[in-house]
Symmetry: C2
């Protein structure tokens, strides 16, 4: 009988199978999906041995992708779901990166930080379904082909620009079955802004002084005041863009941060390790939205200017070396 | 005949005979003044050997102070001029530092950075004459008791809060005779704000990212824009305090900075070497003046908040160590 026959599992291609991509790829692989990955680094190693994943909550998630591709051009069969899990960086052209692997039926899923990051996809693939998702997860690449999942894992997922499609429900169900709490949101853009209220304030500030942790940023009244001012400016910008944030969000963000042990933001870690930072997705897009909507955002403007200075210093340093 | 008899040279005590204090002390000593110094560090060495000063423009200025004091309490005869040349730091109580050496005739001379730094002196020594001065000099301590003067040396000097007293003229004449260009200003507070327009913008920004040079800060449009915004806010604050700045000052500051080879500000160097920074004199006092005068200064507020965060991170680091 039809209801006893399991539906065939969808095929999945993960672009950017680093820590986050590798982790969620593993969850889907354990659910029986055929999972291919595109990896720029660690390609040989992962082809030979797969990805080793040690999860604090889900145990050993190590798996062997069906195929390990160097680029989307090597993809012979467009997948049902194409998960884009790279950082959002100026040096990466997301459309070029995935174009050869996008078929007419392919659902593109962004699991990335930032706001207003969807446009390149809607412009390049106007006929493909697009899901937008936020990951709340503490995961890191500890060695080539080795990922450690330390905590959390929650996803917020919805159709872009709004709604919850059947494809979104199906993907969420697979994540849930794999032990990942996955909240379906019919207004994922507002959820993106909500996360960005935290990110656009704490991430840039944390790079100043060479890498500050959350405790240092909240230790002084003056420090907390500018975090709050930055958050207020993000909220005002979100509201002007049609995505008003709930009352009390800023207090909750501050209180929640105080409850956690001091930690460094992803941007502070990227800075310390000399890696490219997600400046534009997390802050630049907010600043540009504020300018477009004529929202006053002097705190964000200042942080953005400082990050440009830091970038220029890095470029000059790289030029010297 | 009286006019052939040289007037006796004034006695001078220099509090904080570091690089700047040592340099200007040497100039006055070469003019025949009896110069005593208060030194917290390098006391033994300087007592034994004097201060070695190699000047790019004035040659060998090495000299032996008449007395090397550990503190003002050791001063037996209040000087005619008491030059305060320390950095303006939260950890230093300037009044306590000099009180035992201030006689009724003593003229107190501040050769320091920042704005609104005079009040502790006018409150503690209301009957003493106070001169306020700005040094434009590139000088550094290269070893204990050893100072290198690399360039410049110009002083701006005036009575506080305004005017040019006879004592100011006399001191300026001695500096001029010693090869130091010394501009007498009957509005030295406005001159202080003018220098602070540069300092309050570039110094705090330069600490971000772990220490930026002037080229990195001006490399991007966004970077230059926040430097200009910060400078505009200092100008607006100065004007509200009754010290309007001249038209074109900001353009001149930016153009002048671009003409020089890239360099790190004093605050960036203090940050890098783990030394206390002059945050309050250079920025905190401007921010407080803006609040008092109800001038909008969001760029300066942001920079100030970031410097508080950086200070907190350092304190936490020191606590760990």
């Amino acid at each position: 009988m039809a209801q006893d026959e399991p539906a065939p599992k969808p095929t999945v291609l993960v672009a950017g199978a680093g820590a986050i991509g590798g982790f969620y790829a593993a969850v889907l692989a354990r659910q029986g999906c055929d999972v291919d990955v595109i990896m720029r680094s660690d390609h040989e190693l992962v082809s030979a041995r797969g990805i080793t994943i040690d999860s604090a909550t889900l145990g050993d998630l190590s798996f062997r992708p069906r195929q390990v591709l160097r680029s989307a051009a090597e993809c012979r069969m467009p997948p049902d779901y194409l998960l884009v899990c790279t950082k959002v960086l100026g040096s990466l052209d997301p459309v070029a990166m995935i174009r050869p692997a996008v078929g007419s039926h392919t659902v593109i899923v962004l699991i990335q930080n930032g706001v207003e990051i969807e446009r390149p996809y809607t412009e390049a693939f106007p006929d493909n379904e697009l899901l937008s998702s936020l990951a709340f997860v503490a995961v890191s690449r500890v060695a080539p082909g080795e990922v450690r999942h330390k905590a959390y894992g929650h996803l917020v997922l919805g159709s872009f620009p709004s709604g919850v499609s059947e494809a979104a429900r199906r993907l969420a169900a697979m994540f849930e079955a794999g032990g990942i709490n996955c909240t379906l949101s019919d207004d994922v853009v507002t959820a993106r802004w909500e996360k960005c209220v935290w990110n656009a304030a704490f991430n840039p500030a944390s790079v100043c002084g060479g890498g500050l942790d959350t405790a240092a940023m909240l230790a002084s009244e003056e420090g907390e005041a500018i975090i709050r001012r930055a958050m207020n400016e993000v909220c005002a910008t979100a509201a002007a863009c049609g995505h008003p944030q709930r009352e009390g969000l800023i207090d909750d963000h501050i209180a929640g941060t105080r409850r956690m042990p001091p930690y460094k933001t992803s941007m502070a870690l990227d800075f310390e390790y000399g890696r490219e930072m997600e400046v534009e997705a997390i802050l630049g897009n907010v600043v540009r939205a504020a300018r477009r909507e004529q929202v006053s955002a002097p705190t964000l403007e200042t942080l953005y200017g400082l990050l440009q200075m830091i970038g220029a210093a890095r470029d000059a340093g790289a030029g010297r070396g």
